[in-house]
Symmetry: C2
Subunit: 398 residues, 2 copies
């Protein structure tokens, strides 16, 4: 008997995917270079050459049994060591390898974190706007996702709404900074205030509330900004990282869970991740990629193109009269649409070959997301289309 | 609040792992080369050079965005195509790429198969002796594993016991041939009889009963034996494959689900796998490895050492008076212990630096497993220890 649960999921088509498919189809008609496809958050810069060289060297020089052999279920010890040392060096933490669990990307890391510190039926709170895959991730663990409405002023945290929603049933709070889709970076002030409330609520409710920090964009910050390291500001933090964006290798499925050593039973949580894997069919990220990543642990791809694109788009959009929080990181921008219904707005944009994703899918209606992980040259050409779109449909001046 | 469910799992230490840790510790004392460690099923031959060359070529010559980019959630289309074509060529099937889902090893493949064709609370039947990880795999999907007692005569199927257990609550039957731990290969006769019963039961109960076929050892068969392809004998079959053993790359986590095109809604089942992934945090096997495996799809590592080792051990064991079914594949042998309690037997063997795993852990008390994926030279040296062990402890003549 085919599972009705998963069959039902087949019906719910992702808006992002539908738009991306439209872009591909339109590209087949007029040439993809003429479609201003801002739909998908796919890195657009190559992996660093050091990573490639390192893979080749490992393949050439090392014993294939070591390179391709089973990884222990928590990850290869030397790799866990390298991750801990890098985090300590960069963020003044005191992780040991025993606080690190190697996971297949952020999706894998989150799947483990949710199962480790909640039980089915618990609530996980997150903040709009948010990455829509959080819902299946959270529901896959048997938990319920509750969403705190957005602070649309700055895309920091709407604390009033948060305090109302952080009930006794909340086992974990999920943050994502730098944020997909807003591009906002939570300030140290925001995070300190969040931590204070969580500590107070922990005491009030008599149980831990974990902060699960989804950090795939941690390395993509603009204007030399230092992204505050969430775990350094709240003890019960589980950081979920992916190398997909920083190293531009989303297909290789590599990331990790880092449990703050100040967590009660931090090491137990990591060990439990190895048990959780047995039930979900996860068995470590690929061994070759683990070993290679460890050797380029502090490197990133050349991420500067994202800042260039951010500047071009932000200036153009605000010039056209859009209300828009200036992104401090990621490769997303999240302006307010020029009419209340962002879906209608996005539909109209298609006539100008502009692929914009309405904010409803991120829990923030009335806004839209542009993923500017595309060639700068194309961004430049899209500005004219944006101007034409706005002038024609909304009568504003460029 | 840390999950009590997964915390409790930390207590249950695997017997295999405990023995393997003992072997490592003993190795530190007397040199690992002197420990006859038959505990772990880790491939002992290198990946084929073609695979390594292919990885290096992809890394050197191809666009890194393609090599390391996101894989579609069902797998890279050309890779699914290559898998389907290979299965069709080798087993006379008629798979299309739409029947293939790329998964991170057999563990990932099974996790998807269970979720796709059962609902929590359903029963999955398997046959003793069986791979002990089946229990957490099945329970992770919310199902209950029921075990059909072993046919200890030939390690085929105890059909009498099977017919008693295949109740209306059974949604799927899980087979593993060539079998870990027995090394037995299900004959075509066994599989035809199994299929006949399943068809009869499907009709009687008015619902599908899926055959989930776990096939990581499919390519390791001895004496030129052709392993019957399970799916060719029963329509509602889902094959779960891993390249871990055939290509000797267990750390790279690559395998697939192949749904028999004759299954009702075969393509829907594959599409559902993409939905299941969202809840478990699985996102495709690594892209580089997918692409490389597709290029060496019909190759294997040099697996001949396993047959050499099988011959040496089988001859020695039967010569020493052990009752033993002659393995037709895998790299395991599963003789009857020389006393009723195989745990006591294995404990005594440790004094001879022989690491043997008692059969209780495989649902078959009174037997023991030897994983002979080790150097032939070490196997040869171990024969003397086996002889000494048996003669001293059980008074038999070698």
């Amino acid at each position: 008997m085919i599972s009705e649960k998963y069959r039902a999921m087949l019906g719910g088509k992702s808006v992002i995917r539908t738009l991306s498919e439209f872009a591909a189809k339109r590209g087949a008609e007029i040439g993809y270079e003429n479609v201003f496809d801002y739909s998908l958050g796919n890195p657009s810069v190559p992996v660093p050459q050091e990573f490639t060289d390192c893979c080749i060297r490992l393949l050439r020089e090392k014993d294939p049994m070591q390179i391709h052999g089973y990884s222990p279920s928590l990850g290869i010890p030397s790799v866990r060591e390298a991750v801990a040392a890098s985090l300590n060096r960069r963020f003044g933490m005191n992780y040991g390898p025993e606080h690190i669990f190697m996971a297949s990307g952020a999706a894998g890391a989150l799947a483990h974190a949710f199962r480790a510190v909640t039980k089915p039926g618990d609530e996980i709170l997150t903040f709009a706007p948010f990455f829509p895959e959080y819902r299946p991730y959270v529901e896959g663990a048997g938990d319920t996702l509750k969403v705190v409405p957005a602070d649309t002023q700055a895309f920091q945290i709407n604390f009033e709404a948060f305090e109302e929603l952080v009930s006794k049933k909340v086992a974990a709070v999920l943050v994502n900074s730098p944020n997909n889709p807003s591009g906002a970076v939570y300030s140290e002030e925001t995070l300190r205030r969040l931590a204070d409330i969580l500590r107070k609520k922990q005491e009030e409710y008599g149980h831990d509330i974990f902060l699960i920090s989804d950090e795939p964009y941690r390395e993509i910050a603009f204007d030399g900004k230092q992204v505050p390291y969430v775990s350094s500001l709240y003890e019960n933090t589980i950081s979920c990282y992916s190398f997909s964006k920083s190293l531009s290798l989303p297909g290789e499925r590599i990331g990790y869970v880092a449990v703050n050593p100040a967590c009660r039973e931090a090491e137990t949580i990591v060990n439990m991740c190895g048990q959780i894997s047995r039930g979900t069919g996860h068995n470590c990220p690929p061994s070759l990629i683990q070993l290679a990543v460890a050797e380029v642990i502090d490197r990133t791809a050349d991420l500067s193109v994202y800042e260039t694109n951010r500047n071009l788009l932000y200036d153009c959009l605000t010039g056209l009269g859009f209300t828009c929080v200036r992104p401090e990181g990621t490769f997303y921008i999240f302006p307010k649409a020029l009419e209340e219904d962002a879906n209608a707005f996005s539909q109209k944009a298609l006539a100008y070959d502009l692929i914009l994703v309405p904010g409803d899918t991120f829990g923030c209606p009335g806004y839209f997301r542009m993923a500017y992980c595309i060639d700068t040259e194309k961004v430049k050409r899209s500005l004219e289309a944006l101007e034409r779109f706005v002038r024609t449909e909304y009568g504003k001046q460029g």
